[in-house]
Amino acid sequence: MAPVIALDRVGMTYAADSGLVEALRDVSLTVEQGEFVALVGPSGCGKSTLLRLVAGLRAATTGTIAVNGAAVRGPIRAVGMVFQAPVLLRWRSILDNVLLPAELAGLDPKAHRDRALALLELVGLADFAAKRPAELSGGMQQRASLCRALLLDPPLLLMDEPFGALDAMTRDEMNLELLRVWGEAGGSGQGGVRKTILFVTHSIPEAVFLADRIIVMSARPGRIAMVAPVALPRPRTVEIRTSAEAGRLALAIYEALTRRVAA
């Protein structure tokens, strides 16, 4: 079976007003079906750019990208995307924001209402369904945008620092929920199949806790500095999170990151 995501020597250069900005250089990477891959790297190294390229929202300058074996030439289908900013429509209630994907896809939003409410319940926003985004904190907005990405139960999730604005405790809870949604225990994902997740974070412990594999990127232009498999057992628990092995891995990634940034 073809990998879900395959990047082959991908480069991306933006033409900005101030000149050319090389965001990514020579990035090759594959993500297999059901894999949870975390992407860490200094800010500005092109993580968001990489997600946009995979989603087909922008075209790479060089190299090729394929999703499920097909070359990406425009916005791909059946993907859930969590943008770095929550990007909620300020005129809609939280519930209606979560239902937006159904409406945009031409489906009947009423048929998805129960699922939307269940998702909001899952992330602790049940009481805020009728509120407008401006009435929610940044962290709550992020959780709402996560619900929106999950509404249509997409097999592929591209997540850009989805828990960046959350306090530590909520973040831990959300991590566990995300693993459930992903289908860590098996069978809870769509048709018993795990989702494929590409997850950008700036928290190394979060990456270690969640991922099967961690990709460390170097400062701009973003290149892959290190690929670290995470050998921790699943399902992941709080004990695993605080284990010596998790600590050692986090330290190695931290060192790879700082070494690259300093160099």
Partner: protein, 256 residues
């Protein structure tokens, strides 16, 4: 009680000023003995507001219909043109020079032509009102539709929404505050246009009433017509503001 004091805090100062001006006006007229055809007293204006020899109801009705028609026409045409401009670059390049040209015309000077083409009646007056009022709607619609985060547009693309649906669900609601703030300008402009039309050629309407007082020297009636016109203008403006609060409550304060 607190609501009452707050309301007074807000409107009190202007009400007091208004009252003082009325008193000063009345005093100026009675103390200085200004003749009525130059400056009627407030009281004679109040009497003229419903005065017997003018068919006020009919004139007010006609002018209201014209103002409302002009406003609606300007809104519909403005929103359609603005949407066309935002929809595609080609339409924008085709339409914009025309619209800018039309907007630089002194529209009041075009009014007599409408009369030649369309004859008497409410239609030319509606058109003049709409012509004066539509341009801000075009511009604000186009700007509001385009003034949107790339992220929001990407949202539409991620979910593979067709262009028209992105307009319906994302761009148009996003443009609401812009359109609604233009409508406030249009409300005022429509009143001006309609009255100008009635000045030029009409046998009905408040503008016509004002013109007739020129020859009859019935200044109190002219003042009364002015009062009626501003009441109509305020009503329309208030209705637009209420509509804005109803349609885009999330945009309170962010418009203009």
């Amino acid at each position: 009680m607190t609501r009452l004091t707050r309301a007074f805090g807000r409107y009190g100062p202007s009400l007091v000023l208004f009252g003082l001006l009325l008193v000063a006006w009345q005093l100026a007229v009675s103390v200085l003995g200004i003749r009525e055809y130059l400056l009627p007293s407030p009281w004679s204006v109040v009497e003229a507001l419903t005065g017997g020899d003018i068919a006020w109801t009919r004139h007010i009705w006609i002018t209201s219909v014209e103002i409302f028609g002009a406003f609606v026409l300007a809104t519909v045409v403005g929103v359609l043109l603005g949407t066309a401009i935002a929809w595609s670059d080609i339409m924008s390049r085709a339409l914009m020079p025309f619209l800018v040209f039309v907007n630089t015309l002194p529209k009041v000077a075009v009014a007599p032509l409408f009369l030649i083409w369309l004859g008497y009646g409410i239609v030319p007056n509606v058109l003049i009102g709409a012509l004066i009022g539509f341009f801000p709607v075009v511009i604000n619609t186009a700007v509001g539709l385009n003034q949107i985060d790339q992220d929001m547009l990407d949202l539409g693309r991620v979910f593979n929404a067709p262009k028209w649906r992105v307009f319906a669900k994302i761009r148009i609601p996003n443009a609401f505050p812009y359109i609604l703030s233009a409508l406030k300008v249009t409300a005022t402009a429509a009143v001006v246009g309609v009255i100008v039309g009635e000045f030029i050629a009409s046998q009905r309407g408040l503008g016509y009433v004002i013109i007739t007082t020129q020859s009859s020297m019935n200044t109190p009636v002219a003042f009364a017509a002015l009062v009626w016109i501003s009441i109509l203008g305020l009503l329309l403006f208030g209705a637009v503001a209420a509509l804005a609060r109803y349609l885009a409550p999330w945009a309170e304060g962010s418009e203009q």
